[in-house]
Amino acid sequence: MARIELSHVTKRWGGFYAVDDLDLMIDDNAFVTLLGPSGCGKTTTLRMIAGLETPTTGKITIDGVTVFDSEAGINIPANKRRVGFLFQNYALWPNMTVYQNIAFGLSNIKEAGLKVSEDGEIIRNPSAGGAERKLTREEIDRIVARVSAIVKIQPFMKRYPGELSGGQQQRVAIARTLAPGPRVLFMDEPLSNLDAKLRLEMRSELQRLHLSTGSTFVYVTHDQMEAMTLATRICLISNGVLQQYDEPLTVYNRPNNTFVADFVGNPAINFMNARGTQQQDGSFTLKLLDRYDAEFRPGEKVEIGKWYEEAEKEIKAFEAKVRPAEKTNKDEPFKYPVAMVADAEEKKDPDRNDFVLGVRPEFVRICDDGPIEGEIFSAMPTGMETTVRVRVGNYLLTGVVFGGVLYRIGQKVRLNFAGDGTTLFSRVNGRLVACGTLNVKQG
């Protein structure tokens, strides 16, 4: 029903940039999650779109209508933006019953061409004309009945929020948000206060809800699993800066940088420092894990010299942005974690021959003819799969083995990296160079 567009939106408090020059296009009927670590600016972004927070500069349009424009001084207040907002703590009014909570907003609607269908759906048709009117008591009843049926809270209509469990409160909050038929639904970590089991259940219900309402959903979370499973597109933010805006599987398989690679995926991706050069045929010969020689063959054509030129151009452009105040929360390269048994001295000042390899745990294979030698450091079977950590020299690699395989700690194993999903990042700027295949030579 609605398409949202943010251009050059910035929110800062003094020198602290909560959101830094964000451009974002949210398609009609999309389910977009804003993902990032706590304090990265995702909630601020959401609240700015909803109108609960005023951006410092920038422009926001919803459904073609400019709701905020710092240049023109336009700022349509939240109540006129006709959006729904689901709060993290539900924000149910404690002095009203469940029914009153849902009906309160409805009693306030006053529009022309208002109609309520038999099964309680609001039909808006302002062009039909007619006088402005309010909803009748009977119409409100019908709407409340419909939305409470969607989230299955009919038995609790006379109770007060304090008398409901967390999950039930959550459902009431959803019903209240749905009742006026908003064209966009904003959700601010709506599941973070629920226990693990209930969260899983509500997640699937939200997905169904998105389908049945046909509204645009914008969803804030710090839980990458939630983002992966629910979203049609993920918008990953760090330190107020957009890191990647793509479909979930793209974010997972082709992360733009080491930050995205590390943030998405559980167990987390394995990072390995590597050093080497690009060959004539486009492949990279690398030395990794201190003693193994390997060859990385990119899945697409990449020329490292040119790649660096372009990357630096982009970085320069970012740094050259005119800012009214110096950014105190500086953008620093992400410090990707390399799992090690004992901490070792890191190489400072990497050059263009320094790379980082990222291997997802599912590509770490334990097989008898693998080129890498290691021993089991820890093994955590869940029944469906086993997460193993393998010690290779001073390094630790995490792998996921499907099925109920049992490993003994200290057991000697051999490893291999399978598939064409290995990612190669530059150590200088943390950006993705290419995805490809990694072949380790027998050591």
């Binding site: 909803a50 700022n75 939240a78 729904g84 993290q88 703590n89 009014w93 009203m96 309160f104 907003g105």
Partner: protein
């Protein structure tokens, strides 16, 4: 050229749009309006005091002096430094026992009272924190007996009018031989004559102030003790820390902020207190002000300015300390039950009985004494007690229904039939109700608006502006409004009383509202904003119902305080206007039975209101503490 003008027009439109957006939020519009109003009502009277110190006053020493020098110009337009130079440089020669003693004007009119004021403030702080703090610890942290009774009776001295304890002190210890006047109860019952230092001056004033303000300490410190997570102390116990060390290294540092805010409050309140030093015969800044306000009006204003400066100083200290890093959050943990220190099977009763006796003196006895006084045929005539003759009592002070000049009634009708007294009560109620309504409403709105604009500088300015009179000594505020009121010709009107009361009591309401609004998650209202529910409906249907207890406290506190306020109002109206000034009139006339009767009615009324509101709404005077005269 054209592009420049269009850009200019665009700039104007942009500014206009921004302003419209800003003002369209009710909290911004209210803040803007209140900020302007409060600036005028708070700053302007203060400015008038300062200006008053350089003005000429008809019939006052500055005009006489000027007249001698033939320098008198049109009054009011000439500014003079005479009041300042005379106060700080001149000397006065007096005869003390046939010897001529020359002292500087400043030492008589300024330094001595100032020293006394500072001394009683310091002693009152110490006393209040010691007495209230120990009591708070015992009630919240030990297995003391009769906790419920003790904790409600302990705050009586604060609820009752300030002079209650001072008058009781006189009634107990005064004697004709030592202090002159009537014999007190001690002389009547035990034939004991207390020494003069015990009856008058620094000692009794400090003690009475300390007892009066000890409830502050109890409520503020007790609040922290009550909410403090027992885990903090348990963690120290687990580490095998001796108990005294736990107390001094863990418990005490945590209550330090509460102790500090008690100090600030008591200091500023004691500084501006008039009735207690007045009754117990000590010259402080406030009594000195009243003493010299006719003859040396300009110099009296200088004293008021000095009191105001103390107020500012306290405000600055308060700002510094409440924003510091050591402002701990004590309500963190989950553990609900706090560990209870065992006083021992004997100790718990000994401590309780000690406090029962003490509170008997401070809470119950004044009421009984006031009641008894109204049945004595002559002030201080306790013959019915010493001789056991019931006939030596009288009801004439209550029920005389005609004008009689004999019996020591001076032509006054008995309290029950005295129209003047009931008119004054009517006036007091009018002022109290109006002040409560206006101050309560404005305070609640400020609390609401400031909590909505936490980061805004303007909001914190408005908050500080509303808060300033709270730390200003009552007398200084009274002086400010006296000069202001006389200047605009509303002296001795209810309007001036209500204005002064409102400005002084807004902090009660704004504090209690702000504290509770801060607890309320902003999402509660945002959930309604998103659904396009208009502001007044959000207030009446959501915010006010949720916050009703604290909002009622915000109305209740100004009301109760107004009922018993003297220091603030006494300069602003004639004596018959309200009941507390009426009291002073009867005291001057020597009709002590009348003042006792009025005191009795006042105390009983206040206690009744407090209980009633507490029972009906759950709001209580201690929830919105603290402040008062």
């Amino acid at each position: 050229m054209t592009t420049a003008t269009t850009r200019e027009a665009g700039g104007f439109r942009r500014t206009w749009n921004r302003f419209r957006t800003y003002i369209s939020k009710p909290q911004n519009a209210i803040l803007l309006a209140l900020g302007i109003i409060l600036t005028i009502t708070t700053i302007f009277p203060m400015y008038t005091i300062v200006r008053d110190t350089v003005r000429l006053h008809p019939g006052s020493i500055d005009t006489q002096e000027k007249a001698l020098n033939n320098q008198v110009d049109a009054l009011g337009t000439t500014l003079t430094t005479y009041n300042w130079t005379n106060l700080f440089t001149d000397t006065i020669t007096t005869r003390v026992e046939r010897e001529r003693v020359t002292r500087s004007v400043a030492s008589i009119y300024l330094w001595t009272p100032l020293l006394n004021s500072v001394l009683i403030s310091i002693f009152a702080c110490f006393g209040a924190i010691l007495y209230g703090g120990v009591f708070a610890y015992l009630v919240t942290r030990t297995n003391l007996k009769f906790k419920k009774y003790l904790s409600s009776i302990f705050i009586f001295p604060y609820i009752m009018p300030q002079w209650t304890l001072a008058v009781m002190w006189q009634n107990l210890f005064n004697s004709n031989a030592v202090t002159g006047g009537n014999d007190g109860l001690f002389v009547a019952l035990f034939n004991t004559y207390m020494p003069k230092w015990w009856c008058e001056g620094l000692f009794p004033v400090s003690v009475v102030l300390a007892i009066h303000y000890a409830p502050f300490a109890y409520i503020l410190i007790g609040g922290i003790f009550r909410n403090m997570d027992a885990n903090l102390e348990e963690a120290a116990t687990i580490l095998n820390t001796p108990r005294y060390k736990t107390f001094f290294r863990v418990t005490l540092p945590l209550v330090k902020p509460a102790i500090l805010s008690t100090v600030l409050l008591v200091f500023s309140s004691a500084m501006g207190s008039y009735p207690i030093p007045h009754y117990l015969g000590l010259t402080t800044l406030s009594t000195q002000y009243v003493g010299m306000s006719s003859n040396r009006a300009g110099q009296a204003s200088i004293l008021a300015v000095i009191m105001m400066l103390f107020g500012f100083l306290i405000l600055i200290v308060n700002q510094r300390t409440t924003s510091g890093r050591k402002n701990f959050t004590t309500v963190t943990g989950k553990s609900g039950q706090s560990s209870v220190v065992n006083l021992g099977s004997v100790g718990k009763y000994v401590c309780s009985i000690l406090f029962v006796l003490l509170t008997l003196f401070t809470g119950i006895l004044p009421i009984i004494l006031f009641a008894v006084e109204t049945f004595l045929p002559n002030p201080g005539d306790y013959s019915f007690l010493t001789h056991g003759i019931v006939g030596h009592t009288t009801t004439k002070w209550w029920v005389t229904s005609e004008n009689v000049t004999e019996n020591g009634m001076y032509g006054q009708k008995g309290i029950l039939y005295n129209a003047d007294i009931w008119n004054a009560f009517g006036g007091t109620f009018l002022v109290a109700i109006c002040c409560a309504l206006v101050a309560g409403t404005i305070g609640t709105l400020i609390g609401y608006c400031v909590s909505k604009n936490r980061r805004s500088k303007w909001a914190s300015y408005v908050n500080n502006m509303a808060f300033l009179p709270y730390l200003m000594p009552s007398l200084a505020v009274g002086v400010a409004f006296f000069i202001f009121g006389s200047g605009v010709g509303i002296y001795n009107t209810f309007l001036l009383l209500i204005l002064a009361g409102t400005v002084k009591y807004i902090p009660f309401a704004s504090r209690s509202a702000l504290n509770s609004m801060m607890q309320l998650s902003g999402e509660i209202e945002e959930a309604a904003i998103i659904q396009d529910i208009p502001w007044w409906k959000r207030m009446t249907r959501i915010i006010i119902p949720i916050q009703k207890t604290s909002i009622i406290s915000g109305f209740l506190l100004p009301f109760m305080t107004c009922l018993r306020e003297l220091t603030l109002f006494m300069l602003l109206c004639g004596q018959g206007k309200i009941i507390t000034t009426m009291l002073g009139y009867f005291d001057e006339m020597g009709l002590y039975a009348f003042s006792s009767g009025i005191n009795l009615i006042l105390i009983v009324l206040i206690l009744l209101f407090n209980t009633l509101v507490n029972k009906l709404t759950g709001a209580s005077i201690d929830s919105g503490i603290g402040g008062g005269d």
